[in-house]
């Protein structure tokens, strides 16, 4: 018999779709019957959802320009050239 703690410990795997069919069925049955675990599932699912939308991939213009200049300066050197088959 699994405890609520054991079920809660595998919710993250469940959200990743990384769980055996049997365990999935056990977990889903348990969630139907256990409001605290259902709440735990909802709060972890919400966490994953908001994390995925929280941090935009932005970079300041000066960082972009400095990177471009740095690479042009350093990648032009002969010792740095990528050589096919090296």
């Amino acid at each position: 018999m699994r405890t609520c703690k054991e079920f809660c410990d595998c919710i993250s795997d469940y959200l990743d779709g990384d769980m055996s069919e049997d365990l999935c069925r056990f977990l889903e049955d348990h969630l139907d019957r256990c409001p605290p675990c259902q709440l735990m599932y909802q709060s972890l699912a919400t966490t994953v959802e908001v994390c995925s939308q929280s941090i935009p991939a932005e970079m300041p213009d000066d960082v972009r320009e400095n990177l471009r200049r740095f690479l042009r300066e350093h990648c032009g050197q002969d010792s740095c050239e990528p050589k096919k088959g090296v």
Partner: protein, 202 residues
């Protein structure tokens, strides 16, 4: 297929086409910068590591075998570059100490309905996003990088394990812990926020 597009571009770089390399930089720089900035929590330092990452990628491009996607390979270079810096300069910031880990594993984590009942537009408002970033920033670097790679960048568990050079079991364990830590921080924040709002209304 993006992976094949990158292959063709890489071929061109290896044949001496520097503009093709700038195309790869343009394509990935903002995501790599975001990842590095989250790992080291400092914009200036992230800029230095960004430059180091792309220079290493340029030099190492002939060694790219294509056994993983180019983005996985590039994120691995970025992650190693950041972890090397952190291990040398801020070793305490990389992992949890055992005492904290044992405490957290012994009990069922706290839950409340305030967080899940808060509408998405509030959770994803500027204030809400700032709180999520703070919650992620509180994690040690190895955990922070796993949650960013999986939940922000959208890499699969297998790809994250390649990027971090760790087993999938270790990645799953860190991800579970990182997500729960962020969840606990957000739960406490929205409980407190609702309490304050109730007090104002009373």
């Amino acid at each position: 297929m993006p992976m094949y597009e990158d292959r063709e571009t890489i071929e061109r770089v290896l044949n001496g086409d520097y503009d093709a390399f700038e195309g790869l930089v343009e394509k990935y720089q903002a995501r790599i910068y975001r990842h590095l900035k989250k790992m080291v929590k400092d914009g200036h330092l992230a800029q230095d590591l960004l430059q180091e990452t792309f220079l290493s990628a340029y030099k190492g491009l002939p060694g790219f075998t294509g056994s993983s996607s180019f983005s996985t390979w590039l994120f691995r270079i970025a992650t190693n570059t950041a972890l090397m810096y952190l291990r040398k300069n801020r070793p305490d910031s990389v992992e949890y100490d055992d005492e904290i880990r044992n405490q957290s594993n012994s009990t069922l984590p706290p839950i409340s309905s305030e967080f899940v009942n808060t509408p998405l537009e509030i959770l994803l408002s500027n204030e809400g996003k700032r709180k999520i970033e703070e919650a992620i920033d509180e994690l040690p670097a190895l955990y922070r990088s796993v949650i960013v790679l999986r939940d922000v960048e959208g890499f699969s568990l297998e790809e994250v394990s390649k990027i971090m050079d760790s087993s999938i079991a270790a990645i799953k364990s860190r991800l579970h812990r990182a997500r729960n830590s962020v969840r606990e921080t957000l739960t406490s924040y929205y409980m407190e926020r609702n309490l304050s709002s109730d007090r104002r209304e009373a």
